[in-house]
């Protein structure tokens, strides 16, 4: 019998459930290793070699090398784990979150200062809010 997953119809959102966690186990455990300063140094010195020490999929490694957090999340990454990569790169949580929207750092910061992203149009897939797939990427990312 299917499990109850009512959160599948929320736009721009991947809920980290048991299924995602199983997919992302080694990706997330690699991220945990970056909590040790010596591992951060080794990772930065040769990212590919460090990633090859982990039983991650090739796609997960590519997603990490590209620093594409949305891609990482699709392959089972969780943001609190992925944040260790951002910390290793010297990024703030706001920079990391903003990077997933296509907005520049300044655009995202300004959105937050103006009260954040509205829930209007962003509750269900198929509405017309700024987080809907058809409206991606947002901000300056759109022009590229």
């Amino acid at each position: 019998m299917a499990l109850d997953k009512p959160y599948k119809d929320v736009p721009g959102t991947i809920i980290f459930d048991a299924e995602q966690s199983r997919k992302g186990y080694w990706l997330n455990q690699f991220c945990m290793s970056l909590m040790k300063a010596e591992n951060r140094t080794r990772f930065k010195a040769n990212e590919r070699a460090y990633l090859d020490e982990w039983a991650m999929t090739e796609e997960q490694k590519k997603a990490v090398l590209a620093r594409d957090l949305n891609w990482c999340m699709r392959t089972g990454g969780n943001i609190y784990f992925l944040a260790k990569i951002g910390a290793t790169d010297g990024l703030s949580f706001q920079q990391m979150a903003g990077s997933m929207t296509g907005m520049t750092e300044e655009e995202y910061r300004n959105m937050m200062l103006k009260g954040g992203r509205s829930a209007e149009g962003n509750r269900y897939i198929g509405e017309d809010g700024d987080a809907q797939e058809k409206n991606q990427p947002q901000g300056a990312g759109k022009k590229g």
């Binding site: 736009p11 048991a18 909590m35 944040a83 706001q94 937050m112 509750r123």
Partner: protein, 292 residues
């Protein structure tokens, strides 16, 4: 007999800790946020507890994917502030209360809540930022937190997280446990995390001021109804990380007006309430409730 005199609710955004640690609290961006806690810092001095029972969540710090306890109680003598990737926060070591924590663990497990008992762990911003907000800046060496703290970690990282109803019921069990402790001590219970925020995907940055404030009204005035709010409402309305708010219901369930799942006594006194947007990606909510 030990008793719970008050509950404190606050968001625990890491950037707030960083702002305090780097001396940025007087910058225009942060001033309105910290002003909301001026009252609270004075209140903490005037109403110093003997122990704080602090409900928070670990953010992939002490618990990786190796082990994911739904409810974990700290029974250690002390907890070091964790290195979350930027180096440890320069704040004092958190002293525990092993005797009361062990007592609560035994009582709550006998009330059918399967707690994980933790004798060794570091604590991350989820626990230290609320302490900093309520107690102010503390030197890691010369200063100390005002009292022992019992860390109580809730899994809100991997779904499914415990429901609001289960958290609310657990709060009631924790109060029974505390009230069966013989020593005459004053305990505060804190619920932390939230309010609306989403840290992932195209919907990152979601804030829902209206929903947050309605939820806060409900949590304070009609906690039984608040406990019934399903997970999906938090996700849809308050963002994927807004689900942290279920932890506030543990603290609310431990207040004296709640008995056997119903409100039977006089409402607690709302001593302070504050709401501010933004702190980094997050809406910050804060309240203090005192038992009548």
């Amino acid at each position: 007999m030990a008793r719970i005199t008050a509950s404190v609710y606050t968001s625990h955004v890491p950037a707030i800790g960083a702002a305090m640690d780097l001396g940025k609290t007087h910058e225009d961006y942060w001033k309105p946020l910290f002003a909301g806690y001026d009252f609270s810092k004075q209140w903490m001095k005037d109403n110093k507890p003997d122990v704080i029972f602090l409900v928070y969540n670990d953010h992939a710090t002490a618990f990786s994917l190796d082990m994911i306890p739904t409810f974990a109680i700290g029974t250690a003598a002390e907890y070091k502030p964790a290195d979350e990737g930027y180096g440890a926060r320069p704040v004092p070591v958190v002293k525990g209360h092993p005797e009361l924590a062990s007592h609560i663990a035994q009582s709550v497990i006998q009330q059918d809540f399967d707690l994980t008992i933790v004798n060794k762990m570091d604590v991350d911003h989820g626990l230290t930022v609320p302490l900093s907000l309520m107690c102010g800046e503390k030197d890691p060496v010369k200063d100390a937190w005002p009292c022992p703290v019992i860390p109580f970690a809730v899994n809100v990282v991997q779904y499914p997280v415990p429901s609001g109803q289960r958290c609310f019921n657990l709060g009631q069990a924790i109060r029974k446990a505390i009230e069966s402790y013989d020593e005459d001590i004053n305990v505060h219970i804190w619920g932390t995390g939230g309010m609306s925020h989403q840290l992932q995907g195209a919907r990152a940055g979601l804030i829902n001021r209206e929903w947050d404030n309605n939820w806060l009204d409900l949590m304070i005035n009609d906690p039984v109804a608040c406990a019934n709010v399903p997970h999906i409402d938090y996700v849809r309305e308050a963002g994927s990380e807004g689900i942290e708010l279920v932890m506030w219901l543990i603290a609310r369930g431990a207040m004296a007006d709640v008995n056997n799942g119903k409100v039977t006594g006089p409402a607690p006194k709302l001593t302070h309430r504050f709401y501010h947007v933004p702190a980094s990606n997050t809406a910050v909510g804060h309240a203090i409730l005192e038992n009548a």
